[in-house]
């Protein structure tokens, strides 16, 4: 019951839900929430494979780096969101059409 497959199914569900969140929302923060779910699904896969298939800790290391990247991405992404809100006074993703000015 708790084999590799069950972890993969959970990870699959998380990935799909994250994709739906990312594609369906118009709020930039909500899109970032979806990205976090997708990154987590990937990290879970790495740890599950490292436990059941390779039997070493490289998968753990990789998921640690995924967490680091997620933290950096969240910090920069949210800074951009706040800056965008200061300029446009909305965080609707369709308003983000210009690269300058």
């Amino acid at each position: 019951m708790m084999g590799l497959a069950s972890y993969l199914i959970i990870s699959l569900v998380l990935f799909v839900v994250g994709l739906v969140v990312m594609l369906s929302r118009k709020n930039i923060v909500a899109i970032l929430l979806g990205i976090e779910l997708i990154l987590n699904a990937a990290a879970l896969n790495f740890v599950a494979y490292s436990r059941f298939v390779t039997n070493n800790l490289d998968g753990h290391i990789f998921s640690l780096f995924i967490i680091v990247v997620a933290a950096a991405e969240a910090a920069v992404g949210l800074a951009i969101v706040i800056r965008f809100f200061q300029i446009k006074e909305t965080i609707h993703i369709d308003e983000a059409t210009q690269l300058r000015n």
């Binding site: 019951m1 708790m2 084999g3 590799l4 497959a5 069950s6 972890y7 993969l8 199914i9 959970i10 699959l12 998380l14 839900v17 994250g18 739906v20 969140v21 594609l23 369906s24 929302r25 118009k26 709020n27 923060v29 909500a30 970032l32 929430l33 979806g34 976090e36 779910l37 987590n40 990290a43 879970l44 740890v47 599950a48 436990r51 059941f52 298939v53 800790l57 490289d58 753990h60 290391i61 998921s63 640690l64 780096f65 967490i67 680091v68 990247v69 997620a70 933290a71 950096a72 969240a74 910090a75 920069v76 949210l78 800074a79 951009i80 969101v81 706040i82 800056r83 809100f85 965080i91």
Partner: protein, 178 residues
């Protein structure tokens, strides 16, 4: 038995939290459901014997990312935009017209079939090993791996974090009008 209970509880928390993120209209509540999903994920890591990864997950996400998200939602007003009328069962906001749904369903079926095929392979070939309750400590091994085999990635990630910190501070800095 306890490990199985932990697994089921964590899995429900993870998947339920993720689905709640998708269907909740209020973005603040979405952040909180993301938090439950991430804590459930830490539980899943714990059932895999990855104690250090589990605790890092809680530390970074709960202590950092979720609070950052809450801050961002609060500073930007927290409105969600449901722009189109066609909703999927009234739950998820719509993503297109009926052609989109038709193509999406087709792609989804193919995707699902591929995944079921892949997972069936895994189930049959790689039969689940017996699931012990005792796990060796991973902390010291991860420490050695980080400073020996993966030292380049470790240093690069520290540079990445520094860059993200400085970049975020510069981007979000209030500027003079003009």
């Amino acid at each position: 038995m306890f490990a199985q209970f932990l697994f089921i509880a964590s899995a429900l928390l993870t998947v339920g939290g993720a689905i709640a993120v998708a269907v909740t209209k209020n973005i603040m509540h979405s952040c909180i459901f993301l938090l439950t999903s991430l804590i459930g994920m830490a539980g899943l890591y714990a059932t895999l014997g990855a104690d250090f990864v589990a605790v890092t997950q809680i530390m970074v996400y709960v202590g950092g990312i979720v609070i950052l998200m809450l801050f961002a939602v609060m500073l930007t007003g927290g409105k969600d935009f449901v722009s189109r009328a066609q909703n999927l069962l009234g739950l998820a906001p719509a993503m297109g017209n009926k052609w989109t749904y038709a193509v999406g369903t087709l792609v989804g079926i193919v995707f699902l079939a591929t995944n079921v095929k892949l997972i069936m392979n895994i189930v049959s070939v790689n039969a689940p090993k017996t699931f012990g309750t005792e796990f060796p400590s991973t902390v010291s091994q991860i420490g050695h791996l980080l400073v020996k085999e993966h030292v380049l990635a470790f240093e690069l990630s520290s540079v990445l974090l520094l860059g993200a910190l400085v970049g975020a501070a510069i981007i979000a800095r209030p500027r003079k009008q003009g």
